[in-house]
């Protein structure tokens, strides 16, 4: 509906810059051997842009997201949000996982408040809790405990909990992956609504090509270990997008072909490198 940054509503998003990110993980059975997870990933995201990361499993998409969140540091490369380097987790970069990870000992309301109480600003910002509960349509479930919620509802609580801190970047790690097809489509519209309303920069990891095309401004296609950016595809379809339009389907088959090719690249076979070899 709107080009990034030109939307109505708020503009809380901030730009994101990744430069030459390289990351290794120790192999569980042999700490001396390291798995090369990410190899020189560079990416610039404009404020308020919605970018999807797509790729075969094990290509380091989630690792990249965790690095942006500050949950870990890369072996090489730099991460910037706006003009600040990323060194540690911060409420400015919200993270939503596939599992909602709601605190089971807190009610829905307290879970959403957790974003505020973690920063110690619950008293000043108390009035926003109601607003965010309404934003995700959960006013009637304030006192429910997480295990009473359906998957879609739980994920909405997780979104509200991350959004209540007014993050400048929202990182979504397959947030809708565990939902059934119908709930997923509805939730995609909800996330888009939140995105448009608040103008947040979003980085979305997904396995679902349709979801990536439906939601994002650009799609980043990654190769498996070590994860590299294979191609960045801009999606210039008008919003709201039609899932069965000819352009949509054409883009879909192009990306599928690309992914198929990507998973067959020779790099995929060179999975592990020893620490001194890298």
């Amino acid at each position: 509906m709107v080009a990034p940054g030109s939307g109505h509503g708020l503009r809380e998003g901030s730009s994101l810059r990744l430069a030459g990110i390289t990351k290794y993980f120790p192999t569980p059975d042999d700490p001396a051997v390291r798995t090369h997870v990410l190899d020189g990933v560079s990416l610039e995201v404009a404020p308020g842009e919605l970018v999807s990361l797509v790729g075969p499993s094990g290509c380091g998409k989630s690792t990249l997201l965790r690095l942006v969140a500050g949950l870990g540091a890369p072996e090489a490369g730099e991460l910037w949000v706006g003009t600040e380097p990323i060194r540690a987790p911060s409420a400015e970069r919200g993270l939503v996982f596939q599992d909602p990870n709601l605190f089971p000992w807190l009610t829905v309301r307290r879970n959403i408040e957790a974003g505020l109480s973690a920063r110690g600003v619950l008293r000043e910002k108390q009035h926003e809790v109601q607003e965010f509960m309404r934003l995700v349509g959960l006013e009637g479930f304030a006192q429910a405990f997480p295990h009473h919620l359906s998957g879609g509802m739980a994920q909405r609580v997780a979104l509200a909990r991350a959004m209540i801190n007014h993050p400048r970047v929202l990182l979504l790690d397959e947030p809708l992956g565990a939902l059934d097809a119908f709930t997923r489509m509805r939730m995609q519209d909800e996330v888009l609504r939140l995105w448009e309303a608040r103008g947040i920069t979003m980085l979305l990891v997904t396995h679902d090509i349709d979801e990536a095309i439906y939601m994002s401004d650009r799609i980043v296609i990654m190769t498996p270990r070590p994860g590299r950016i294979e191609r960045i595809i801009p999606v210039n379809l008008e919003r709201p997008r039609q899932r069965n339009s000819a352009e949509f389907l054409q883009l879909r088959s192009d990306i599928l072909e690309l992914l198929h090719f990507a998973s067959r690249t020779p790099q995929a076979t060179a999975e592990r490198q020893t620490a001194n070899g890298a």
Binding site: L95, F103, A118, H147, R161
Partner: protein, 347 residues
């Protein structure tokens, strides 16, 4: 009561009656009305039977020894007749009675059987196996001393338990959360913890200024190990993703420990609290028998010294009530604190 032919026939037939009643109650569950009436009548019938047996058996005993038991059985009878009359108008009571009456009737039946075995047929040697009447009588005679002993035991238990839990939570959270505390603290816990607290009695007697503080220390030590161990495991096994989420919400160390790790560890901590409570009962009684000059444990060994087994059994009855009440209180506390688990885990 004064006919001599009845007592011989009665004991043979009547002890079976409560049992028979129980067995006939269960099958016709389909007929609600009949089921209800059988249930409601179970306790009064059992009490009447027990009273009859008691009157017949105890007529040769001194009245002072048997009066309390007569009174007790009469109270049971009157209470349950009254409850049976009130229950049509009080649904809560009716539900409670439908649930509890069979087991209470069985308990009264057991008392009767006990009396038959001891005073009735004199199958067991005295003074080691007194009749329920004389146990009740010694309970009543010693009521002030027993109340005082129970109070002292409670004070000792609670102070020892509270101290132990407090120290255990602090050590458990530190060891569970901080890597360095784990490195230095865990071996200490693993080596010292498994020693039964009662094995420290000789050392406690030397180190503590008096018997009371020795007992408190021993109870605390007994509680410390299981609670600390399960706190550590609870804290260390906090789902990493909860901590990750909290970090991305801007949480600091304090929030991560007190608002994420500890709540996440609470189910495990409560298991430790229950285990600790069990060991604390044991340690309390041992500590009281060796060091302290009051309390239920002391009372039992004192009564045993005088071969007053009625008092020993009386104290055991009090202990049963005392410990199970405390256990129930902890269960209630857990249900409150962990109410969020309802529907997640069945205990």
């Amino acid at each position: 009561m004064n006919t001599s032919s009845v007592p011989i026939k009665e004991p043979v037939r009547l002890p079976v009656a409560p049992e028979a009643m129980l067995s006939t109650e269960r099958p016709p569950a389909g007929q609600v009305a009949a089921f209800c009436w059988c249930t409601i009548l179970a306790v009064p019938v059992a009490a009447t039977v027990a009273l009859t047996i008691h009157r017949l058996i105890a007529k040769n005993e001194p009245v002072a020894d048997t009066r309390t038991f007569t009174l007790f059985l009469s109270c049971v009878l009157i209470t349950f007749v009254a409850a049976g009359l009130v229950q049509p108008f009080w649904s809560g009571l009716r539900r409670w009675m439908a649930h509890m009456c069979p087991i209470l009737a069985a308990a009264v039946g057991l008392l009767s059987a006990w009396e038959l075995i001891t005073t009735g047929f004199r199958l067991l040697p005295l003074p080691y196996f007194p009749s329920p009447a004389s146990v009740l009588q010694s309970l009543w005679n010693d009521r002030f001393l027993l109340c005082e002993s129970t109070g002292n035991s409670l004070l000792l238990l609670l102070s020892g338990y509270a101290l132990g839990v407090l120290v255990a939570l602090v050590t458990g959270v530190c060891i569970g959360w901080y890597r360095h505390a784990r490195y230095w603290g865990m071996p200490l816990l693993k080596v010292l913890g498994p020693i039964p607290a009662t094995a420290w009695v000789p050392l406690a007697m030397v180190l503590a200024p008096n018997g009371r503080s020795a007992a408190v220390g021993l109870v605390a030590l007994a509680v410390w190990f299981p609670v600390a161990m399960l706190t550590i495991s609870g804290i260390a096994n906090t789902r990493a993703s909860y901590l990750d989420v909290a970090r991305t919400l801007g949480a600091g160390q304090g929030y991560l420990i007190f608002r994420v790790a500890i709540p996440a560890a609470l189910p495990s901590i409560f298991i430790g609290l229950f285990m600790g409570l069990g060991t604390s009962f044991l340690t309390l009684i041992v500590a009281e028998t060796v060091g302290v000059k009051s309390g239920l444990g002391w009372y039992v060994s004192w009564a045993q010294g005088w071969a007053e087994y009625g008092k020993v059994y009386g104290a055991l009855v009090i202990m049963a009530a005392f410990f199970s009440t405390i256990m129930t209180a902890l269960f209630k506390l857990r249900d409150r604190v962990l109410s969020w688990q309802k529907g997640v885990i069945k205990w």
